[in-house]
């Protein structure tokens, strides 16, 4: 038995077993769930060798599964985040209904993502892609809120993407006679011009939907915020990366090999930039943490898309690094929101305040993730951003860099809003009862947060496999040229040496804290946040002084022209228009038997009239 098959069989049987055990015992179900996630992951990381493939054929089409260096990078995200978020999910979803179903879909999504990474041919790629889509769709509608709106929107867009991809796949099949991805890449430069344009466009629509590229992003926010947070961590952290995965293959494998590729790159890069800016601005405007993080995910994916579109080795390094880091910190943040939701029952910034002393570990994890998200050194997010900027500057995208910088600076706004909204501010009596989330929820968050820290100082740990993957895509070795274990270089040889920076920061911190605090800290005592200088007034217990409504109103007022246009209404009116047309079309079935008889006669006459046309 091939280990590759075994992994998938384990996933599948584990999913079914979890579902069925859920009817018997809750504990058994949880154990089965965790086991199903952990065992294949362990098998994958210990038993699977790169380059090992299994071949088989379906309907006469040759298919092949096997892991490559490149997909191995994404396997880290999928399995790492999958296992951690799975552990989190067990605690976070405790007591919810229908958990067997949840876990079933969860495992299925993980399996599908692994399947995508394993697929060396387009058909299994598509099959797993669709499994991923519908399993995630079932998660989006799991909570039962707004399913007709949000769920259907997600699925429609996914379907548009998937079918665009399917079209590209069948065209590829008809052109090359093979479904292998490698064959497509190999034969692509010899295609005729139209196909050279059509196939990447279709594939990019498919991947763009999953990676929430700007005109195709409208599903993302609702879906991210509606699915259970335990799953959204995977949804935003890992699942959206599948779009990135595919996009990289398209951009590096196909687009870069044709002369028109330059325009593709520019267009995609600008779409990524618009995604980043739009996502950021809308994230700033949100009052709900889930939506904010969802928009933020869209924005972050925008950066990654920019990197892919630019396509220089440094940009690719940046994108992949950001993809991994985004999985980590956004996963943590969604988990934190989930923890807060579980403990308080709401995720609205205007309602929850001052949790820092109640949920310190959640805060710590969120803080580190936010610092990583904002791209502030010494945490991991910085590495990706640095590389991205350097690559954008180095590849002469002058205006692009400004746009990116704008959105990344504006990102500080929502970063702060997240931390302030939940954890800081007045400690209200309403939330006095709130406790820290269970350890099973906190530990995965903290692990991921620490991970961002480690990768921020030793990016080489991630860049190493990324480098291997990039070489597979045809890039030259980047180690030593763009990075070492904890040193980064840009195109012009400028460096950022990370370790001394970290040490300096730590040293100053320690010194400062010792300096300020040792002498006086014990004399300092905690006073409640009601004891503030409020013009001599003494706030009552029930008075909520926290500033949380209209948080960034001045800023939003000044960027209002940028945000005046939303794309959703256009889609909505398009959808309504289509529905109206369809509604009109079905009136052809008048319900009158005589009309139907008339149709028969008219049809006969039409055929008789056009018979020459029809038979030539």
């Amino acid at each position: 038995m091939e280990i590759i098959y075994l992994i998938f069989i384990l996933f599948l049987s584990g999913a079914i077993a979890t579902f069925l055990l859920g009817k018997v015992s809750k504990r058994l179900r949880d154990i089965a769930f965790i086991t199903t996630l952990v065992v294949p992951s362990v098998l994958f990381f210990t038993q699977i060798n790169i380059g090992q493939t299994v071949d088989f054929s379906v309907l006469g089409i040759h298919l092949s599964w096997g892991i490559t260096n490149f997909s191995y990078i994404f396997a880290y995200i999928v399995l790492g985040l999958g296992v951690l978020a799975g552990i989190y999910a067990v605690a976070a979803m405790k007591g919810k209904e229908n958990l067997g179903f949840f876990f079933f879909n969860y495992i299925l999504s993980i399996m599908a993502m692994m399947g995508i990474l394993f697929s060396r041919d387009l058909i299994s790629f598509f099959v797993f892609w669709e499994i991923m889509t519908w399993s995630s769709y079932l998660m989006v509608v799991f909570t039962g809120k707004d399913v007709q709106k949000v769920g259907i929107k997600y699925f429609i867009f996914s379907a548009i993407g998937a079918y665009a991809m399917l079209m590209a796949i069948v065209i590829t099949y008809s052109l090359t006679g093979s479904m292998m991805i490698s064959n497509l890449i190999f034969a692509f430069p010899d295609f005729e011009f139209g196909m050279q344009i059509l196939i990447p466009v279709l594939l990019l629509i498919g991947f763009g939907v999953k990676s929430a590229m700007m005109p195709l992003h409208v599903w993302a926010v609702g879906s991210y915020s509606h699915s259970p947070m335990a799953y959204t961590a995977v949804f935003s952290g890992a699942l959206s990366k599948m779009g990135i995965y595919g996009m990289i293959i398209v951009m590096a494998g196909l687009v870069s090999r044709i002369p028109e590729g330059y325009w593709f790159r520019e267009v995609i890069a600008w779409m990524g930039a618009i995604t980043a800016v739009g996502g950021t601005l809308w994230a700033v405007a949100q009052d709900d943490a889930k939506k904010m993080l969802a928009y933020s995910s869209v924005a972050q994916l925008g950066y990654i898309i920019i990197g892919i579109a630019i396509g220089t080795p440094l940009a690719m390094l940046a994108s992949l690094f950001m993809a991994i880091l985004h999985g980590m910190f956004k996963g943590t943040l969604f988990m934190a929101v989930g923890a807060i939701e579980k403990q308080t029952g709401t995720t609205n910034f205007t309602e929850v305040t001052g949790l820092i002393r109640k949920m310190p570990f959640t805060f710590l994890a969120s803080l580190m993730s936010i610092i990583a998200l904002a791209g502030i050194p010494p945490l991991g997010g910085f590495i990706g951003k640095w590389m991205l900027y350097e690559s954008v500057i180095g590849s002469n995208h002058y205006l692009l860099i400004i746009v990116i910088f704008f959105s990344s600076t504006a990102a500080f706004l929502y970063c702060y809003k997240f931390l302030f909204g939940f954890f800081l501010g007045q400690e209200e009596k309403e939330w006095a009862h709130v406790k820290e989330a269970p350890a099973m929820m906190v530990v995965p968050m903290v692990i991921l947060a620490i991970g961002t820290f480690i990768f921020g100082v030793f990016p080489g740990l991630i860049l190493n496999p990324i480098d291997a993957g990039l070489q597979e895509l045809g890039y030259a070795v980047t180690q030593g040229r763009y990075w070492e274990m904890s040193v980064l270089f840009n195109e012009w040889g400028d460096t950022v040496v990370l370790q001394p920076i970290l040490y300096t920061i730590l040293a100053v911190f320690v010194f400062f804290l010792a300096f300020v605090l040792t002498k006086n800290f014990k004399k300092t005592r905690y006073v409640s946040t009601k004891d503030i200088s409020s013009s001599g007034e003494i706030p009552k217990e029930h008075e909520n002084l926290t500033f949380s409504r209209g948080f960034f109103q001045p800023f939003l007022r000044s960027v209002e022209p940028l945000m005046r246009r939303k794309i959703d209404p256009y889609y909505n009116s398009f959808g309504r228009g289509m529905e109206a047309i369809f509604d009109f079309v079905r009136r052809i079935y008048t319900g009158n038997g005589q009309t139907y008889a008339l149709y028969v006669v008219v049809f006969a006459l039409l055929l008789l009239i056009f018979k020459d046309r029809l038979w030539g």
Binding site: V141, G144, I152, A164, M167, V170, Y173, E579, V600, K611
Partner: protein, 500 residues
């Protein structure tokens, strides 16, 4: 060998005749006999089919009159495949409707099973007969039994649906008769093989006119676009299993007749624009009409029509890949649509007005039925790894091989519409709150119904996970359809010339 192909038609006809008589002795026989008959037919057709696959086409002559004079039955890889499929679906329908809510009473059950037997017999007859007039007769048998089954419920609008069906059916039967007259007047024969052999001797004007009348005559059963006005009504108003019989058996026979006529009778090789155009229009109109449906069964009906349109498109490509895809689609549709109708009719039972909006939260109350419905929906919209995906994929690859990019695009766009309306229902079933005001207390499906659905569901999963399990059969069938000379040879070689 357990029997000969003629039994496939004779036995159900006999059973239809015997059912009321036997019912006098023991009322339960009315329900048992059809099961035995259909079970036997399934085994018979399956074993015949295995023989056919191993040894070659069986051509059976009736009453010793050899082709081209007598009526002959052709049990080839294609017709055998369809006949087996039909008997199997018929058996599943029997299993499901063994104690179907409405026919628990004796009288109702009697009528139901008589007409079901006739329907199955007629459909099998359409498929395996080798004579166009005989085909006409079988079409009429199917028609009459279908009108009767449509009007099965006395309380609803079923008579209206049946009447519309009847008007269109009679008109089209007339057209079919005209076509037969035209061919007979020109070629002097009714045997398909001989017509096929001589079709090029026919003046083109006559040929094309005959073909048009043929299309109209068969189009009503095959649910092509302007001729399918009856279909939504009939599907909606007929009992659930009858709907699935229409979708799984009757329509397949209609499509077969259409395709046999195009491919063999008129020997059109290469792409058939007319099939593609009609199929596309059917697909688009039906799927778009389905989007805003209020009633579940009506939605399923439109979906069924749309699928048939897609089948026609696939056939219209005229290539082996296209025919393969079309047959695959037919197979999947024959499995999936009954599942949807089976589970859907239990969902419909539990709503007062049969509306989709009244099915909120039934997933909690009837987990298995809802799960089967969801599975069926997933499969029919072509989500992998379920059966529907592979057929859709084969259609698309076939189209891509012919360079029909526009058709691929339209098919995929229409698929999105399909997804929307199916998922609306699934969402409502699973993720909405149960509402006592609109839904009545749920009738749980009986065990036999669950088994029937489970069998179909397992088939969906088997084909979904291992599509190669059927690809060999389909390959043989599609080769058979495309190979007109062999057909002619097989049929005509059995007959020596009669000497007087």
């Amino acid at each position: 060998m357990v029997g000969s192909p003629v039994l496939l038609i004779a036995i159900p006809l006999l059973a239809a005749f015997l059912i009321p008589l036997l019912g006098i002795f023991w009322k339960e026989l009315v329900r048992i006999i059809p099961g035995l008959v259909l079970g036997y037919l399934t085994i018979l057709s399956a074993s015949l089919y295995i023989d056919v696959l191993n040894t070659g086409t069986i051509v059976e002559t009736i009453a010793g009159w050899r082709a081209p004079w007598g009526i002959n039955l052709v049990f080839s890889p294609l017709t055998g495949f369809l006949a087996t499929l039909m008997t199997f679906i018929g058996f599943i329908i029997w299993l499901y409707s063994y104690r179907f809510k409405r026919n628990v009473e004796f009288e109702a059950a009697k009528k139901y099973f008589i007409f079901l037997m006739l329907l199955v017999a007629g459909s099998i007859g359409i498929v395996i007969t080798g004579d166009i007039f005989n085909q006409f007769v079988f079409i009429e048998i199917v028609g009459i039994s279908a009108y009767a089954l449509t009007a099965f419920y006395t309380g609803r609008n079923s008579a209206e649906a049946a009447f519309k069906y009847l008007i269109m059916g009679s008109l089209s039967a007339s057209a079919l008769l005209i076509a037969i007259i035209l061919i007979y007047s020109q070629l002097g024969t009714l045997n398909m093989a001989e017509i096929a052999a001589n079709i090029h001797n026919m003046p083109p004007q006559y040929r094309v006119t005959a073909m048009i009348f043929f299309i109209i005559g068969i189009g009503v059963e095959a649910e092509i676009f302007p001729l399918n006005g009856w279909a939504p009504d009939a599907y909606t108003e007929a009992p659930g299993p009858v709907g699935s019989a229409f979708a799984g058996i009757v329509v397949k026979a209609g499509i077969y007749a259409m395709v046999r006529m195009m491919f063999t009778l008129f020997d059109i090789s290469g792409p058939m624009q007319i099939l593609i155009i009609i199929g596309m229009i059917t697909l688009v109109v039906a799927e778009t009409s389905a989007l805003r449906q209020v009633q579940l069964k009506r939605m399923l009906a439109y979906s069924s029509i749309g699928q048939m349109g897609l089948v026609l498109v696939a056939f219209g490509m005229g290539t082996k890949a296209g025919v393969f895809a079309a047959l695959f689609l037919m197979l999947n549709h024959a499995i999936i649509k009954p599942l949807l109708f089976f589970s859907g009719s239990y969902l419909v039972f539990n709503s007062k007005e049969k509306n989709i909006s009244e099915m909120s939260g039934l997933g909690k109350l009837m987990p298995f039925t809802a799960a089967f419905f969801a599975l069926g929906s997933f499969a029919i919209v072509g989500l992998p790894p379920f059966a529907g995906f592979w057929s859709k994929l084969s259609v698309l690859t076939a189209a891509a091989n012919d360079g029909l990019l526009l058709i691929i695009a339209i098919v995929l766009l229409v698929s999105i519409v399909e997804i929307v309306y199916y998922f609306r229902v699934i969402n409502r079933i699973y993720f909405f709150k149960f509402d006592k005001a609109t839904s009545v207390v749920p009738h749980k499906p009986r065990v036999n119904a669950l088994i029937a659905m489970a069998i179909l569901a397992i088939l969906i999963l088997v084909i979904g996970f291992y599509p190669d399990s059927v690809s060999e059969i389909l390959n043989r069938a599609s080769e058979d359809l495309l190979n007109t000379p062999d057909y002619i040879k097989n049929v005509l070689s059995t007959g020596q010339s009669l000497t007087y």
